[in-house]
Symmetry: C2
Subunit: 670 residues, 2 copies
């Protein structure tokens, strides 16, 4: 099979498979799952066909409760039906989920796993939502990367059809749902060949039909309800085998192998982490790094979380395992331990494996989980052996957190890392999405893009993180050592530590109206010092001026993208600009020739106006400007200002009220 590579995000990968294998989808939008439904809806409107030769019937309901009810009803009628949701949306589906599993209806929910609103709302990723449905009788499969979303979505649908058990397929909100990666797409004809069509026919034949009336959803008394609840046991007992079977089939098709639990690391590992979701990618990077140094460490990736099969877990665990650390991306206040930990402990106990097990919590609400933090988890196993720890925060209240020695860089030789500071809705994110697709789809390089923005979206700061290179990219964390940093808004030089983490000899691209001379006074001393000390290649472009001149108003994104291709050298400039112009035609074609031409003009003018700033070596020695004295409350300096300066990650637990209250009237200090 010729590989069909494409540069897409996790939501698109899920939509690709869900669309293929669904007759219908009942949806209700909720961040970060909304694009899955939107993409399917657009495909359906355009007449795209699923593997059964029909467009998918898409209906948006009044809420996720209605969507779940519609999925239940549609399945009962014999239509393969899916939905896409997260967080509170998934919680609203719970009552209907019991009905679907109770009636053995093979529906699939693709969930972009997300935090739940507690002391505060969070639209970001963790496993609080999926863990809140682990008791509903759904099968649960976890994907750790965009490629896995493609592959394991397919396994999920195939296994659900064959087993008659409904499934949740989940992947981390934003980190995987919105991360763009160059992946191999699976063709619909190849998918169709794997479907158990007998099972599909049997399922359709079970659909309600006035020609063969039957009684569903009875009310049962104490005499028979319990027996009925146990009657489905044989179906659940078969699921692990069915999932393993389809993992094998997908491996034969794609060459990518999966097991219910996958192990990577030293075959004689003593200290092993067990994790689920996107963190597995980062942990695997660290495992490669540590085993290369001779350390006996490993990682178990949990794929099939429900039904939980401890036989399969101990099967892949090295005999040498002495300590396990189970990482949970959820919090259940009052529980003895988080859910994956409980399952692993009891699984080992039942299988007679006497291994010490520790439990750690990480990544709530998309909290960063990077290689330094992973290393702290391994160090804890050989060191203090703290249990029920947190990692990634400083808990100075109940002292759960691990000490993390920052700065571990495990990125692969030849991977280029670029960071772009933009203003929400200024086009930076869109331009970077197009840039990464140009790179991914026109070179043999792997490519990854992730976009960090806060929940106010438009008007807030956006930071785009782009990586590309010859090796597979598994870095599911933000870039902290950058080859290239661009600042698309000159005001940011005073607000943010824009150059944090730039490599020596790296490239800094600034959009500003300032002359080379003005830089002396406009840039803060710390920034000038970094530029000179690290001997950065420093470029300036007055993008606003160019955009104005060609008629684009404030839309500077094509200009900054051109500047990026020129300064980064990722592609020969000529080829890059050719592709960029093709992309412009695709993006703006339906808005008319004039818009296309303005953007093409902007590209052409950029090269002439890009200025290499020849800064003096003396910048290396400048001293800090004295800060202007302002009278502000302690809360503003201690909590609010660090958050605004993008340093909120460093705030310890103690600065937050336990019930989530914040003071008001603080905008005056912004």
């Amino acid at each position: 099979m010729a590989k069909m590579m494409q540069t897409v995000d996790g939501n698109t990968a899920a939509a690709h498979v869900a669309y293929a294998l669904s007759d219908a989808a009942a949806i209700y939008p909720i961040t970060p799952s909304s694009p899955v439904g939107e993409i399917c809806d657009e495909w359906a409107a355009n007449g795209r066909e699923n593997i059964f030769g029909q467009p998918v019937l898409i209906r948006q309901m009044q809420s996720e409760a209605g969507a779940a009810a519609a999925v239940h009803g549609s399945l009962a009628a014999g239509a393969l039906t899916s939905s896409f949701t997260a967080s509170q949306g998934l919680l609203l589906m719970i009552p209907n989920m019991y009905k679907m599993s109770g009636e053995l209806l093979p529906g699939v929910l693709h969930v972009t796993a997300r935090a739940i609103a507690a002391h505060a709302l969070s639209i970001f990723g963790d496993h609080q939502d999926v863990m809140a449905v682990r008791q509903t009788g759904f099968g649960m499969l976890a994907s750790a990367s965009v490629q896995e979303v493609m592959d394991l979505s397919l396994v999920t649908h195939l296994a659900s059809i064959e087993s008659s058990v409904p499934f949740v397929h989940f992947f981390d909100g934003f980190r995987t749902s919105h991360e763009i990666q160059k992946i191999e797409m699976i063709d619909y004809a190849d998918m169709a060949a794997l479907v158990n069509m007998d099972a599909v026919a049997k399922f359709r034949a079970r659909g309600v039909n006035p020609e063969r009336p039957e009684l569903r959803g009875t009310a049962q008394n104490p005499d028979i309800y319990f027996q009925g609840r146990e009657a489905a046991n044989p179906y659940y007992l078969k699921v692990p085998g069915v999932v393993a079977h389809y993992m094998q089939k997908v491996a034969e098709l794609t060459g990518r192998h999966y097991r219910l639990f996958d192990y990577v690391g030293a075959s004689d590992a003593e200290h092993i982490v067990v994790a689920m979701g996107s963190s597995c990618e980062t942990i695997e990077e660290v495992v490669h790094h540590l085993t290369a140094k001779g350390q006996k460490v490993g990682l178990v990736k949990v794929r099939l979380y429900r039904p939980f099969s401890p036989e399969h877990l101990v099967d892949i665990l090295p005999e040498t395992a002495r300590t396990l650390t189970v990482l949970d991306r959820t919090k259940e206040p009052g529980a003895l331990g988080d859910p994956l930990y409980l399952d692993v402990c009891v699984g080992l106990m039942e299988q007679g494996r006497n291994i010490k097990v520790l439990n750690g919590r990480y990544g709530l609400g998309s909290k960063e989980f990077n290689p330094s933090m992973v290393k702290a988890v391994y160090d804890n196993m050989t060191g203090a052996g703290k249990n029920h720890f947190t990692v990634g925060i400083a808990d100075d209240v109940t002292h759960t957190s691990l000490e993390v020695e920052t700065g571990l860089d495990v990125s692969l030789e030849g991977t280029v890392q670029c960071k772009f500071w933009g203003l929400g809705a200024d086009g930076t994110v869109g331009a970077n999405k197009s840039a990464i697709k140009i790179i991914g789809d026109n070179t043999d390089m792997y490519a990854q893009a992730y976009f960090a923005y806060d929940s106010k979206k438009s008007g807030g700061v956006t930071i785009s993180h782009l990586r590309f290179g010859k090796s597979l990219i598994q870095s599911t964390y933000l870039i902290d050592t950058a080859d290239y940093i661009a600042c698309h808004n000159p005001a940011y030089v005073h607000i943010y530590d824009v150059l944090e983490g730039i490599k020596s000899g790296g490239t800094f691209m600034l959009n500003s109206p300032w002359t080379v001379e003005e830089m002396q006074t406009r840039l803060p001393a710390a920034m000038r010092r970094t530029i000179a000390k690290k001997k950065l290649k420093f470029f300036n472009i007055d993008a606003v001026k160019i955009a104005g001149a060609v008629g684009l108003g404030g839309r500077i994104n094509m200009i900054m993208q051109t500047a990026f291709f020129k300064a980064s050298g990722v592609l020969p400039v000529g080829q890059a600009l050719e592709l960029l112009k093709k992309e412009i035609k695709k993006m703006f074609g339906r808005k008319g020739d004039k818009i296309v031409q303005m953007n093409v003009d902007a590209v052409d003018r950029t090269l002439d106006h890009l200025v290499a700033v020849d800064y003096p070596e003396s910048w290396a020695g400048v001293s800090d400007d004295a800060p202007a004295p302002v009278e502000v409350p302690a809360w503003v300096t201690e909590v609010m200002q660090p958050i605004l300066a993008q340093k909120g990650d460093r705030l310890p637990v103690s600065v937050f009220t336990p019930d989530g209250l914040f003071p008001v009237g603080t905008t005056q200090y912004e």
Copy 2:
């Protein structure tokens, strides 16, 4: 303190405490919790005051989702607020429960734990609903009897107020919510003396108030959400201590002692059951029975389920424990084990106690759990040691069930057991409720009543189970050896095995228009044989005739109740009828003197018309009537007819479809 004994059901006990300690309650009715809200609503309408000297503000919302939102909002405004729910109702509260716990708002939900609709709906009791909210950050306390509902409701409210953590207080649907027991009521003044009024004042001061604006329910980004989620840890760490403190306070007040986990049984027990809810009462009966025979067995009753405190668990576990069986009253298809089992296993592991642990499931949808089944659980520990078993059903599909040797009678000497077969809405249940209250409130006997009826309620069969005697009654299962059986509907003698389980020399009370001679032909042979063989005292009363004569139409309940007092001899007849007439005035007073007089007349006439049936000894030898041959489908004979004959408990798993489907058009065979 003078003991204030009253004969009430579990819902009334919960209402008594919830009313005392709430400023407001937002409710939505769902079986079996509805009476709690109804009772509180009636009290409020009558101006009854809580401990703060005010009627409780009660508001019914549009659904449980709205009720939960109203509880959240009301708490945020500084009002102590409660709600009452079960099953799907509790599931709809989940999103708001995360908010309440996240914001540390001390709300209390009293839950009549109930099954969840899966392959079929069930209005009956188990722990599927409460187990579906164990991750929400609520504290969870379980009561096992009506007296415990009174005592631990109080502990729950007191602990919630002091800890700022919201709580679910749960007790088994129907078995405890609707069981009537003679219990000690706690006086509102005594409750008030235990409340931490400083904590109440602090809570009220935290309420939203435009005079002190503040920001609640923020949307937090990845930088700070995780820290905020850990900021409440100190509150949760304190909860076990706070609950233990108030258990001690309630013990000082009432003399009834509770711990987070309670142990009963041999101090050198080797085989110990861990359970939660009403099953603890039955298990305790069996433990007393077995330890009296020298067996080394015991029982751990789980009171505080969340936060789960393994230190407190191992504290009360005998050093001699070799095997534990954790009984879960829930099912989570695909889980390695049910939730209490997982907690106990990991708790022991973390505490370094190396004990073999088994897991059993029982009682789904109020499936009967009686002493014979309990004994099977203990026998399994010394015998086969089967894990992940079911008990109470015959699982001939996946062979999970334990063999049960039926007939173990552990009822206490002197406890009288009476069973009444009635027709839904014929007044039998109401009359038995009044009878048990007369006995409980006017003698020094303990009294218990439980009413088994199917979910169609009106028009279906009802079976009332009454026990009374000098000893505390812990039999939380149906009566299977009866001293007295009454059949209020003559048609039942052909449909049901009405006399099943009657003791030799027991009393059988029949309502029929038949003469002594007619009994010969009207009663089926099997019934006549039982009457004669067991030498029953057999009475007949033509209650319909009496009711017609005094103008009561078909309302025979007062007549049957009079007959019961006469034939059972539980009270001197004169006193009993005096009390019954007083009760009649209370019940019908507002309907006018005429109705009162008709009922009094009915009572007076009953004694004259009660006929002791002098049956011939030859009945002992009569042979069965040949059954009329009818052509019916196998499903009707194998499934439907046993269910209709009240023998559904004996149907094995294999006769049920795994997805809950039933055939239609079967009424023709009824």
